[in-house]
């Protein structure tokens, strides 16, 4: 069993604060990160993976004494898709997060109290800008690959377009180039659930009772959007919970109800409601083409791309990945893409391990050989 410890890097202490996209400056900033595998001498085998909305820096291996490995342990490790015998893999908790990196639950050094809603707005760009400080600190000049699914994919795309010299290749999974109205709407419902909870108290709930009901509801909505009609039907169907017949009351009858309650209950223990607000909003602000045409945005990119999407993903539908692929091709970039047939919905990017392991390991092997055919 591989043990890993989360590490921390603090930077942007005054007066060198990080200027955020909103114009506000923030500092000092701490980023929590983990690494797996060994960085080679010429630092050419580094891969950065990015987590999604509710993920964290603990992508793989085990924390001492814990029974569950990191969130992408199926893909990162010796002999796995991101083979840690060959590559040095880094994962950073995003700025605005609540799992070791500076976020709304952190103590504001100016007041000595948690930021709460006085925490400045962060964008995906800002998250990447913060990561860049850590990367410079680690002395990595070029990543063999930057990779991520969902929100992780957005970060990879920002790296590829904002710091093209740092990126040899990109693996973008179940992601897109701009958040759509449906995605924004779903996030807004989740945010309203949190902010509508009286315990939210304008975001100033630290040390008091947390908005557990609101956050749990937000998570339930999230879970529904990560699955598909088919995967839910296969997993739960209309199965009842330990009852022979319907209760004819508002207690839980169905397994799916229990599942949502159980999963959201766990989530509330580990995630900060304000972080959910900030990060979901940063996703909604994401539009790679906000400054012009998407094809022009990728003109700056020079990386090789692997774009993966899933047939039943309705949160990040594959047509959005295909739009991205079109823009990449229009720039004569080397792009491989696949739409994997899966019934797991958006969750497929975490669940469909076998196919992705093949795709990713072969793609990375080609990148390492430097044999770009296009």
């Amino acid at each position: 069993m591989h043990i890993v410890e989360t590490q921390y890097y603090t930077f942007a202490g005054p007066p060198q604060e990080l200027k955020l996209k909103s114009g506000v400056s923030l500092g000092p900033i701490t980023l929590a990160y983990e690494t797996y595998g060994t960085l080679n001498k010429d630092k050419s085998n580094a891969i950065m993976v990015f987590h999604s909305l509710t993920g964290d820096a603990h992508a793989a291996f085990y924390h001492k004494g814990e029974e569950k490995p990191g969130w992408w342990d199926t893909m990162i490790g010796p002999g796995k898709g991101f083979d840690t015998d060959k590559y040095f893999v880094i994962c950073v908790n995003v700025l605005g997060g609540c799992r070791g990196s500076t976020g709304p639950a952190s103590i504001n050094p100016k007041t000595g109290k948690p930021f709460g809603l006085s925490f400045p707005f962060v964008t995906i760009d800002d998250m990447v800008a913060a990561q860049k400080h850590l990367v410079d600190h680690l002395g990595i000049k070029k990543f063999l690959c930057v990779a991520g699914g969902s929100m992780g994919g957005l970060q990879a795309l920002i790296w590829a377009t904002r710091y093209p010299d740092y990126v040899e290749s990109v693996i973008a999974i179940a992601t897109n180039t701009r958040h759509t109205a449906q995605q924004i709407a779903l996030h807004e419902v989740a945010r309203q659930a949190i902010m509508g909870d009286p315990d939210w108290q304008g975001g100033d709930y630290y040390g008091k009772s947390i908005p557990a009901r609101g956050l749990a509801l937000a998570r339930m909505i999230g879970h529904i959007t990560y699955m598909s009609d088919k995967s839910m039907d296969e997993k739960f169907g209309r199965k009842l919970i330990a009852k022979e017949r319907l209760g004819y009351d508002f207690s839980h009858d169905f397994e799916v109800e229990n599942y949502l309650k159980y999963r959201s209950g766990n989530f509330v223990q580990r995630f900060d409601a304000n972080s959910y607000l900030y990060i979901s909003k940063s996703l909604d602000y994401f539009d790679l083409s906000s400054d012009g045409k998407l094809t022009d945005v990728f003109a700056k990119a020079g990386a090789h791309f692997l774009v993966i999407s899933f047939t039943s993903d309705w949160l990040y539908p594959s047509y959005q990945s295909k739009e991205m692929v079109r823009a990449l091709k229009a720039n004569d970039l080397d792009v491989s893409d696949i739409e994997i047939n899966s019934s797991y919905g958006h969750d497929a990017f975490l669940v469909e391990v076998e196919g992705q392991t093949k795709l990713i390991s072969h793609f990375l092997a080609r990148m390492q050989k430097g044999a770009a055919h296009v």
């Binding site: 090789h304 295909k322 692929v325 079109r326 091709k329 229009a330 004569d332 080397d334 792009v335 491989s336 893409d337 696949i338 739409e339 994997i340 047939n341 196919g355 093949k358 795709l359 072969h362 793609f363 092997a365 080609r366 050989k369 044999a371 770009a372 055919h373 296009v374």
Partner: protein
């Protein structure tokens, strides 16, 4: 020809000869990527494949190829003009919905286009129609009418007419029967026609 070359499919041998060293190649309907891999290894080409079958995509990736999981009918619009030196449509044209559009698009994105088509007017097929009064099922055209992936049924002659009517120059034409080149009466004796085109 070396021993290794003899194991290469005859149509692939012709295509490898046609394609210049170091050329940029787009293989439409690349399947498992066998031809692309040969072009990369033997001719130092830079290749991209397009394939609709998901399983084939994994096998292409295993070979270290760049491959796009799209439909040929819609997938060409993304590429810029003359992006490739060669666009290959080997045994895939008869399966597309809009062959005319696809060939013209291929000629837009590629300087030259290589097309390989099965000849539906091979002598065996003609005999079956004439004597049996049935739509032909032969070794090279193994499908029944109800399960064929082929949407288009054409002969080499039909293809030549098509090129002429669309202002496409045929730079070279090879008729293949089994693993041999057909020397005469191609439209009667060739199972497959290979064309090198330019517009």
């Amino acid at each position: 020809m070396s021993e290794a070359d003899k194991s290469i499919r005859f149509d692939h041998q012709i295509i490898i000869k046609w394609v210049e060293k170091g050329a940029r190649v787009l293989d439409l309907g690349c399947g498992d990527g066998v031809l692309l891999e040969l072009l990369i290894k033997n001719r130092g080409c830079h290749g991209t494949g397009v394939e609709i079958d998901e399983k084939a995509i994994y096998r292409c990736m295993e070979k270290g190829l760049t491959v796009s999981h799209i439909d040929i009918d819609t997938g060409l619009a993304d590429y810029s003009n003359k992006r490739f030196d060669y666009v290959i449509l080997n045994e895939s044209l008869q399966e597309v919905l809009q062959p005319r559009t696809v060939i013209l698009e291929a000629l837009r994105v590629g300087k030259k286009v290589i097309v390989g088509i099965p000849n539906f007017c091979h002598v065996r097929a003609r005999l079956q129609i004439f004597f049996q009064g049935r739509v032909p099922v032969t070794k090279k055209l193994p499908y029944e009418w109800y399960d064929t992936p082929n949407l288009r049924f054409l002969s080499l002659k039909d293809f030549r007419y098509f090129c002429k009517n669309n202002g496409i120059n045929i730079l070279d034409e090879v008729g293949i029967s089994g693993s041999k080149r057909v020397g005469f009466r191609l439209n009667l004796f060739a199972h497959t026609g290979l064309y090198l085109l330019e517009k």
